[in-house]
């Protein structure tokens, strides 16, 4: 056991305790905006932390970088600008809301360590472009690292557990951490590339069981240019399908994702596959709900699922809500913030809505 513990120490990651500068994700904002708002709310209101949401930061350009239309020198300078904004705001710890961005930040910092002349050139570029100067963050975390760090504090406030209220058994949860979280630089991820714990730790702390299935670490299939260009999307759908086929025999109640892109693809490709092949995963032709970790934290803490945005996923979450025993109003589902009834979305042909 001591030997195991010693090995495990190599996979630990230091995560700052407080005072964070927050950089948002293009995809999480676009597809799961409530997740970012909830993350800020839980840190401030539930955990009493200091986190700064700076309107002056921009995209890191990461999707453009991995799709080869943005040079490395450019993305390094954009990230350096974010570090400059952090410094000017008086912060040293950064939280990154996107796995693609997180991977890029790790790649850039490691590049600067190995090639100090590249760091100096980036400083020059940033100063020339903006007259700004930057420090490298003291601590860098993905936003899921923060939820992981405080998973037990969240567990202390749980209103609902990841337990099937009818059977009394833990829910079966598939977790997908996203390739760029730790496949490139394992030391930056909780549990590294081999034993990622960032989502599994939350699931276990909140009462669920993690499913270990053959294609657990396979890519969701985003592939950057393989999705961005319509002609290539077969690649993207095929990779998600490989994962669905692999997890299906384990009858998962939920897919929990780390990366906003993965969340979107695992949700939307279930629809596409249902249209292409009349194949619907999950029980009763309802699909397998796919959630962000912010959405899951919100559910267990008792927040309204419709304020978290679950109604705007293609795969609907009612089966999961029923299993968890969550009380919710069906009438409130498609209403505006001020309570005005909105139209109802169309039901897909092969998914029970």
């Amino acid at each position: 056991m001591d030997a195991t513990n010693n090995i495990w120490k190599n996979y630990q990651k230091e995560i700052a305790d407080d005072h964070y500068y927050y950089v948002r994700s293009c995809i999480r904002q676009s597809f799961f905006p409530a997740s970012e708002e909830f993350f800020l709310k839980v840190l401030k209101d539930e955990l009493g932390k200091d986190i700064f949401d700076d309107p002056n930061h921009t995209t890191c350009t990461g999707i453009g970088y991995h799709a080869d239309v943005v040079p490395f020198e450019t993305i390094m300078t954009v990230v350096a600008r974010h570090f400059a904004l952090m410094k000017e705001s008086g912060y040293k710890n950064i939280i990154i809301s996107c796995v693609t961005s997180f991977g890029i930040y790790t790649e850039i910092i490691e590049t600067w360590k190995h090639f100090p002349e590249v760091l100096e050139k980036t400083r020059e570029n940033l100063y020339k472009a903006t007259k700004r100067e930057f420090d490298i963050p003291v601590n860098m975390a993905h936003s899921s690292d923060i939820i992981y760090k405080f998973r037990h504090e969240i567990a202390d406030k749980l209103k609902y557990r990841l337990v099937n209220q009818i059977t009394g058994k833990p829910l079966k949860v598939v977790e997908h951490i996203g390739c760029h979280y730790s496949k490139m630089f394992p030391k930056y991820g909780v549990g590294g590339a081999e034993f990622p714990q960032v989502l599994a730790g939350m699931i276990n702390a909140w009462g669920g069981n993690v499913i270990d299935y053959p294609e657990r670490r396979h890519c969701c299939g985003f592939g950057f240019r393989q999705y961005l260009v319509q002609a290539n999307r077969g690649y993207s759908a095929a990779n998600s399908k490989k994962k669905f086929e692999s997890m299906e025999p384990y009858k998962p109640d939920l897919i929990l994702c780390n990366c906003p892109g993965c969340t979107m693809f695992m949700d939307k490709w279930q629809y596409t596959i249902s249209e292409m092949e009349a194949k619907t995963y999950g029980e009763n032709n309802q699909g397998i709900p796919v959630l962000t970790y912010e959405e899951l934290a919100g559910l267990v803490l008792g927040y309204n699922p419709w304020d978290l945005g679950l109604q705007f996923h293609q795969i609907q979450s009612e089966p999961l809500l029923h299993k968890m025993g969550i009380e919710f109003s069906q009438k409130d589902k498609y209403k505006t913030r001020s309570g005005i009834q909105m139209p109802m979305p169309e039901c897909p042909a092969n998914i029970s809505f």
């Binding site: 948002r24 904002q29 676009s30 597809f31 905006p33 409530a34 708002e37 309107p55 921009t58 350009t61 999707i63 453009g64 991995h66 799709a67 080869d68 239309v69 943005v70 040079p71 490395f72 020198e73 450019t74 600008r81 991977g103 590049t111 090639f115 020339k128 472009a129 903006t130 760029h180 496949k183 490139m184 890519c219 299939g221 592939g223 950057f224 240019r225 393989q226 260009v229 319509q230 002609a231 290539n232 999307r233 077969g234 690649y235 759908a237 990779n239 939307k268 490709w269 629809y271 596409t272 419709w306 304020d307 705007f312 293609q314 505006t336 913030r337 909105m342 979305p345 169309e346 897909p348």
Partner: protein
């Protein structure tokens, strides 16, 4: 050492990504693209390390370098610490600089990515803002995306976003002063050079192919062609 290899060596990702490949094939075994496409990252790295000019040029003019999905699974698994996906990035960057990318069907798609994601970055400060994910270009997003697009103001307000408004929050409007800084960064760090390379070579190719090309936007034959055309010769059956 040949000229193309020298140019590749100037890319720090190439220097980091390729030490000495022993051809074990672990990268190919783990690679999602190798499972889907007629693609073998081991072969690409092996070809590059021969330093054979004509073979490297053929790679940069060909289809295979565009098959990688950048998942970086190869980095985790290579026993020599190589990263084929980073070697691929260096090859793609040089292919665009030299104009070789327009020789391949998959390479020509760079024009579509530049006109969408590339321009979103400078116009909005986001790679992929909600309002630029058009349902007609993304049928795979399903009926819920049609719904969100048709009711975007109400949906974003319900979810606590700050859609296209000043101040902080999800999908806020990025202030012009911040967009101006992005613009200057692209100017001093080579971002615009890459954009210009893609545009110039794409326009030339559109003319060769007899397809309508416009200086801006996505409403032109060449964009529609590179965005949607799939010869069907790429994937494994």
């Amino acid at each position: 050492m040949g000229k193309l290899y020298d140019l590749l060596l100037q890319d720090i990702r190439f220097e980091e990504g390729l030490n000495a490949c022993m051809n074990c094939g672990v990268c190919t075994a783990i690679c999602p693209a190798a499972e889907f496409y007629k693609y073998d990252p081991r072969e690409i790295v092996d070809t590059v390390q021969t330093k054979d000019e004509s073979k490297i040029e053929a790679l940069m003019r060909g289809e295979t370098i565009w098959y990688c999905g950048q998942c970086m699974s190869c980095k985790t698994r290579c026993p020599r610490g190589n990263t084929p996906a980073m070697v691929i990035m260096a090859l793609r960057t040089l292919s665009q600089k030299l104009g070789y990318f327009t020789d391949s069907e998959k390479g020509r798609q760079q024009f579509a990515i530049k006109r969408t994601v590339g321009e979103n970055i400078l116009k909005y400060g986001y790679c992929v803002p909600t309002y630029e994910v058009k349902p007609e270009m993304h049928p795979e997003q399903g009926p819920i995306w049609n719904y969100i697009s048709e009711n975007i103001e109400e949906v974003m307000e319900r979810l606590g976003a700050n859609l296209r408004k000043p101040g902080p929050g999800s999908m806020r409007q990025i202030h012009q002063s911040n967009l101006d800084e992005l613009d200057k960064i692209f100017e001093v760090s080579g971002g615009y050079n890459m954009f210009n390379d893609i545009e110039q070579h794409s326009e030339k190719k559109a003319n060769e192919m007899g397809l309508e090309f416009k200086k801006q936007g996505t409403d032109n034959e060449y964009f529609r062609h590179v965005y949607t055309f799939n010869s069907g010769n790429h994937s494994k059956e």
